[in-house]
């Protein structure tokens, strides 16, 4: 079968994620968008693995999931602490450091 569709889908997902990072203000949503990008990668990895018959791509997807989970832990901690301080989850509010 043609893997093009999967790859296209993966690229599409990646792009949606990337655009999401750009347009959403809420830190949580931004973070979710990043996760979407990672999952797009997973899709691509799995597709290529299937295409070449090499298992390592599929294994990689699991690695990525674990990494993403770890990222969530760290990310949420950071976002939580900043939310508690600022009473806002908007990434645009945190802009003291500039120029």
């Amino acid at each position: 079968m043609n893997p093009g569709a999967y790859i296209t889908l993966s690229a599409l997902l990646f792009s949606i994620g990337a655009v999401g990072v750009l347009v959403r203000r809420n830190a949580i949503v931004v973070f979710m968008s990043v996760e979407l990008m990672l999952n797009a990668c997973n899709l691509a990895l799995v597709t290529f693995a299937k295409q070449t018959g090499d298992l390592s791509g599929q294994v990689a997807a699991f690695f990525v999931m674990v990494v993403a989970a770890a990222e969530v832990v760290v990310g949420l901690a950071i976002i939580m602490s900043i939310f508690r301080t600022r009473r806002s989850a908007s990434v645009d509010d945190a802009s003291l450091l500039k120029y």
Binding site: M37, C41, A49, S56, A60, V64, V74, I78, S81, T85
Partner: protein, 531 residues
């Protein structure tokens, strides 16, 4: 399927340094869980220092025992752990360098005298700034000693990053080094708001860039059918023309790595994070992260994509120029020392890229330098000076903690000439004045670039160094030629820890500037990458 189970071969002796560091980190976690609060600091510092020293010793042992495997440029070492890790000359050199710098950073982390007996990390990161909880944490002298194991994890990640023989391991290493750093950035005791903002920015952008990196990996995997750098190299070399898959993959992997080294236009996080993070962490990041990321960049592009160098060299050319120009240019008008140093580190990344892009593998006799050795040497010089400079920044303080505004540093040369002298010396090194390590480093990367045919890049680099020199000189002018303001900051008397850091950094800056021979020889002997 025969059902036979091949036990993966793990060369424990060769990856011992990694095991020691990760083991130490785990011990730190255990200590954090079980040791009483009174002992935690002592125990953590002890474990950290011991771990790093032990890792360093084992690195030396590994380095001494590396087998030579020959080649155009003699390479030493081998692929271990089923090709996941490459223990070769460059890896060992970078390990050693990372461990030494981490050890020095650890001393900065452990400094307690400046904050009245507490470390410079937030007592309780979860406590809101300005609330009772924070005050209690402060009066009860609570400390986040988790920073030490976090740091060890980061060090471990950094060590794996440039030694990874396969892209997946590299990605994991990237995350292992990044995640602790995100946290460490947000742990400043003073100016919590800035610190948290830095952490968040670093985290979001770091994750964002990881995604690019990963997608790049996926594409390359799609092209080569393997994560293995050796296999990728074969695939790349076998084909005569690049395919969109490979090229896009290369570009995206480059984006991920260039983000980590802070190259323009992927540098935007650097100034904000460097400024907001606790200074000790900034120093650690500035020195070690950059080294690890450059190590990875070298490995991926020299080993994996070496066959496609004509495809990616233009990209790196442009990025190098952009990085040098942006870093130098914007630094001119900075008024905050830490921020200025951040931009300076961006400019330095550009200089290293100049050496990197030369792709010079030595002359016919093998007597001279190579691109690889020049970059390794530059990273060494840069690491020490940077750590030293940030160490000095921690010492200039007033009631509100560190005073990093440039105007407050006026007249420092008169009130504390030694400290100001040391800082000026680091600045001169950054500017590349001879008899400092910075000069030697610059010389090497420029020579490698020119030898690789990139003399135009060298000339551009030289001109941007002039712009860069301007802001270093400006700081010297402020420190030495201006009168101190009325509320001049006091220079805190550091404990032996910070003093040692500065002393070591000065010594390294001098020695590498005057007798660079031994270290250069080490970098030379690192030879080429093992494929």
């Amino acid at each position: 399927m025969t059902g036979e189970f091949d036990v993966p071969k793990v060369e424990y002796a060769l990856v011992l340094p990694l095991l020691v560091v990760f083991g130490g980190a785990l011990v730190g976690v255990v200590i954090e869980a079980f040791a009483s609060r009174a002992w935690r600091y002592t125990a953590q510092v002890g474990v950290t220092v011991t771990t790093l020293v032990a890792a360093l010793v084992s690195t030396v042992l590994v380095g001494v025992g590396l087998d030579s495997i020959g080649g155009d440029v003699p390479a030493r070492g081998e692929l271990v752990v089923e090709g996941a890790i490459v223990v070769d000359g460059p890896s060992v050199f970078l390990w050693g360098l990372l461990l030494v710098l981490s050890l020095i950073s650890a001393l900065l982390f452990a400094e307690r005298r400046l904050e009245g007996g507490l470390t410079s990390f937030a007592g309780q990161a979860a406590a809101l700034p300005g609330t009772d909880a924070e005050r209690v944490a402060s009066t009860e002298r609570i400390e986040h000693t988790e920073v030490f194991p976090l740091m060890l994890f980061a060090v471990g990640g950094m060590m794996v990053f440039p030694a990874a023989g396969d892209l997946l391991i590299m990605f994991v290493a990237l995350e292992v080094l990044s995640l602790p750093l995100y946290l460490l950035c947000g742990l400043a005791r003073r100016r919590r708001l800035l610190s948290q903002e830095a952490a968040m920015k670093y985290f979001l952008l770091g994750a964002f860039s990881s995604a690019f990196f990963l997608y790049g990996i996926a594409l390359v995997y799609g092209y080569a059918g393997s994560f293995d750098l050796t296999a990728i190299d074969q695939a790349v070399s076998a084909s005569t023309a690049g395919t969109p898959l490979l090229l896009a993959g290369i570009a995206l992997i480059a984006v991920g790595l260039l983000f980590k080294i802070g190259a323009a236009p992927f540098h935007a996080w650097t100034p904000d994070v460097y400024q907001g993070a606790p200074t000790a962490v900034t120093g650690f990041m500035a020195a070690c992260t950059k080294i690890a990321a450059f190590g990875a960049l070298l490995r991926v592009f020299y080993v994996g994509f070496g066959g496609a160098s004509w495809d990616w060299r233009p990209l790196i050319w442009v990025v190098a120029i952009l990085t040098m120009v942006v870093g130098s240019l914007v630094a001119i008008t900075q008024s905050d020392i830490k921020r200025m140093l951040a931009y300076s580190s961006i400019a330095h990344a550009g200089f290293v890229l100049v050496g990197f892009v030369g792709l010079y593998s030595g002359n016919a006799t093998g007597a001279g330098i190579t691109s690889l050795s020049s970059v390794l040497f530059y990273l060494t010089t840069y690491g020490f000076s940077t750590l030293g400079a940030f160490a000095v920044v921690t010492l200039v303080r007033d009631a509100g903690g560190e005073t990093t505004h440039l105007s407050r540093w006026a007249g420092l040369g008169r009130s504390s000439p030694v400290l100001a002298g040391a800082f000026a010396f680091f600045l001169l090194a950054f500017a590349g004045i001879p008899l400092t390590s910075g000069f030697m480093g610059k010389w090497m990367v420029f020579a490698a670039a020119w030898a690789g045919g990139a003399w135009v890049l060298v000339v551009i680099a030289v001109l941007t160094s002039l712009v860069a020199a301007f802001f270093y000189v400006r700081v010297i002018v402020v420190m030495f030629f201006s009168d101190p303001g009325v509320d001049a900051p006091a220079v805190a008397v550091p404990s032996a820890l910070t003093a040692a850091v500065i002393a070591v950094a000065v010594a390294a800056t001098v020695l590498l500037g005057v007798v660079p021979g031994p270290v250069l020889d080490l970098a030379q002997q690192a030879g080429a990458f093992v494929r």
